[in-house]
């Protein structure tokens, strides 16, 4: 990095810092703990607009659509937002990452013009990928979309659609050619959630929350203009857009883990127990903290390295999988340790600040949520398979026919 760039970056860092000091709402964690869905949604939307006015909401988008920060600037931005414990864009996550990268990579100009500005104005998206019989094996999906002239008629069931209750639009994968090999008969659609025939039902989770939804689709009509990419090429579109942005989103999460997450853990360890002792005074606890800090530091470096290699075109085919696997498991270990440190009373903490990262200090909830990393988005088993086969060049697991 040239000295001139360093100076520019430091100036940018100072700008972000000043902005954070002036704009991160004081006490938002307390205020956003245990709030209703409506309050969560309006808080998230307001925070999004605040970031947008500063030019920080969609830094990864091209400049013409309202983004345009360099990777180096984005890294600085996410470091500073984490360091100032700013709320995360939880509600808009799928909109600004998955929906936007799909539209930018495979959408038509008209689709981009229709949706990218709308996303900036608050349009919320969810993902309709998984199905009861198609989890890790996503390509086995059975929801059908049959063409009738300029309309597709969709029937089927989706599960684990995070935030579907609040969504205006949905990224939908459905089978358009039942006779083709399973990865070649899927199409990618933009589905307006107001269309008749959509029934969204929340799923009650072990934590008592209902963050995920089931979605039943009965004769739902989608105009052919809302098809993304060519008919029957939906699998390829999804593959391209799912991994495209992983580097920077992982970097953001790793920075959160390093700042907020590890900080909360230290706080928990420093809090006196009823008998007056502190976990922190225990050498075993100190050892575990040091181990975790090393792991988190390594994770942050890995993410940074991945982003840099994305920029220079030097990223390997499995780098994103390695980062995802490592993050998932460090997160699980760290939150597990947090749950252990807070002990039994931690079991009764059943509310957490809803706009926070995956680690919030409500350790038991955080630990349970960590399975939202080791299971979805390609489970840890799938990531290991990818790394083994595509990274190490190991033979594929023998497929045993029925």
């Amino acid at each position: 990095m040239s000295p001139a760039t360093d100076t520019d970056l430091e100036a940018f860092r100072a700008e972000v810092r000043n902005w954070c000091r002036a704009n991160v709402p004081a006490g938002w964690r307390g205020a956003q703990t245990g709030v209703s869905d409506d309050e969560f949604v309006s808080f998230q939307k307001a925070w999004f607009q605040q970031l947008r006015r500063a030019g920080y909401a969609v830094p990864h988008w091209p400049a013409e659509w309202g983004g345009g920060l360099s990777s180096a600037q984005q890294m600085v931005l996410y470091q500073e937002l984490a360091a100032h414990d700013a709320p995360r864009l939880v509600l808009a996550f799928v909109s600004i990452h998955h929906a936007a990268s799909t539209l930018l990579a495979a959408g038509t100009d008209e689709q981009r013009r229709r949706h990218l500005p709308a996303i900036l104005d608050g349009e919320i998206w969810c993902q309709g990928f998984s199905e009861p019989e198609a989890g890790s094996d996503l390509a086995a999906l059975r929801t059908t979309a049959r063409r009738h002239g300029d309309t597709f008629v969709v029937n089927g069931q989706k599960v684990w659609a995070s935030g579907a209750l609040h969504a205006d639009w949905c990224l939908l994968l459905a089978r358009t050619d039942p006779d083709a090999p399973k990865r070649r008969g899927i199409s990618y659609f933009l589905l307006d959630m107001r269309t008749p025939g959509i029934d969204v039902r929340p799923i009650r989770q072990a934590t008592g929350e209902s963050h995920f939804c089931e979605m039943f689709l009965t004769d739902v009509e989608i105009p052919a203009a809302d098809l993304v990419g060519p008919e029957n090429a939906g699998w390829q579109v999804a593959q391209e857009t799912l991994s495209a942005e992983r580097g920077m989103t992982m970097l953001e999460l790793a920075e959160r883990l390093g700042h907020a997450g590890f900080g909360w853990l230290l706080d928990a360890c420093a809090r006196p127990r009823p008998d007056g002792g502190r976990p922190l005074d225990d050498p075993v606890v100190q050892d575990r903290l040091v181990e975790l800090e090393i792991e988190v530091t390594a994770l942050r470096r890995m993410c940074r390295h991945l982003v840099e290699r994305h920029d220079t075109g030097g990223a390997g085919p499995v780098d994103a999988s390695i980062v995802k696997l490592h993050y998932s498991e460090v997160l699980q270990r760290l939150t597990d340790f947090g749950a252990e440190v807070v002990g039994l009373p931690g079991q009764t903490v059943l509310r957490k600040p809803v706009s926070s990262g995956w680690e919030s200090g409500a350790w038991v909830l955080d630990f349970i949520s960590s399975w939202e990393w080791t299971i979805p988005g390609g489970s840890s088993e799938i990531q290991r398979t990818i790394i083994g086969e595509r990274g190490l060049g190991l033979p594929r697991e023998p497929a045993v026919g029925p």
């Binding site: 094996d137 072990a206 252990e340």
Partner: protein
């Protein structure tokens, strides 16, 4: 020595398991959570089997029957303090006994109109009044704070060991069931054109968890035998069992959740309930770290006698 339960005890356990299933099985805990007044439903069923007449420290047969009963209750996550009721000392006028530790003792005793005694790891006894639940059962799994009134009488080490060991038998029943549920799930669940169980990566995770569970089963038998033989190490053996059981529970539930995928965190699956109701057993009276600490404090540099103590007692 023989650390296996007698055929009679095993048959008693199977009978209890069927009786609990007939009374609702998995639905018992779901009903009790929705309506805590129904917490006692299982008590009546077990009462018909003579559970509350057992005197586990009175005879080996009754001790083994009690262990088998706790294991059966664990399989269904029965929302009732079965192990605590069975640990009732003969010499106090109480309905049950619970092992406590630390300055703010807690136990899953909320909402039952029963008289409770407590014993700490050093054998000091007390009478306990469970406080009313301040949060719904769903959040607390019926765990509540206890107001203690110390008693002059001291309890025997066997009473401490019994309280610890029976709780581990309950947890063992939960691990049995979690493994069975997960085995059935990976055999039935097809992805990539084959059952998940065909993937060696899945097989290995499940087998590692099974090795943990099987180790607890062995130790549970051993710790029970240690009580039967009135061995001086009975409390240490019980703590060693507890440590192994709590650590195994971490591995087993972690694996079972990972292999069940997202559905395992939803209340339509029995795993979600088992995993939630295993928490009090895994954290009370002491969690993994505190159990390890207590055990090493007691043992110092003296090893556990174990199976090969040189006396060859019945071996």
């Amino acid at each position: 020595m023989n650390i296996d339960l007698t055929d009679e005890a095993q048959e008693y356990g199977r009978t209890a398991e069927r009786a609990i299933e007939a009374a609702g099985g998995d639905a018992l805990v779901q009903r009790a959570e929705a309506d805590p007044a129904r917490r006692g439903d299982a008590a009546a069923v077990l009462g018909e089997l003579g559970a509350w007449d057992l005197d586990p420290l009175g005879s080996d047969d009754e001790l083994e029957a009690a262990a088998a009963l706790c294991r059966a209750a664990g399989r269904w996550a029965v929302p009732y303090p079965v192990a605590e009721r069975l640990s009732r000392p003969g010499d106090l006028h109480v309905d049950g006994l619970v092992v406590v530790a630390g300055p703010a003792p807690e136990a899953p005793l909320a909402g039952l109109d029963l008289r409770w005694a407590t014993i700490d790891l050093d054998g000091r006894c007390g009478m306990a009044t469970p406080r009313p639940l301040s949060v719904p059962a769903r959040k607390a799994a019926f765990v509540t704070g206890l107001d203690l009134e110390p008693l002059d009488e001291g309890g025997s080490p066997a009473a401490v060991a019994l309280g610890l060991v029976l709780g581990c038998w309950t947890l063992l029943g939960m691990l049995d069931r979690a493994m069975e549920l997960t085995r059935a799930y990976v055999v039935e669940r097809h992805q990539f054109g084959q059952p998940l169980s065909r993937f060696q990566g899945v097989q290995f995770q499940l087998t590692d968890a099974e090795v943990e569970r099987a180790g607890v089963e062995e130790l549970a038998g051993y710790a029970l035998w240690s009580i039967e033989g009135q061995r001086p190490d009975a409390v240490e053996d019980a703590l060693a069992l507890r440590l192994a059981a709590v650590e195994a529970a971490e591995v087993v539930f972690r694996t079972c959740h990972q292999l069940h995928g997202a559905i395992g965190f939803c209340d339509e699956t029995a795993l979600s309930w088992l995993s939630r109701y295993s928490q009090p057993l895994r954290r009370l009276p002491l969690g993994a770290a505190a159990t390890r600490d207590e055990l090493s404090r007691r043992l110092g540099r003296r090893p556990l006698a174990g199976l090969f103590d040189g006396t060859g007692a019945g071996w």
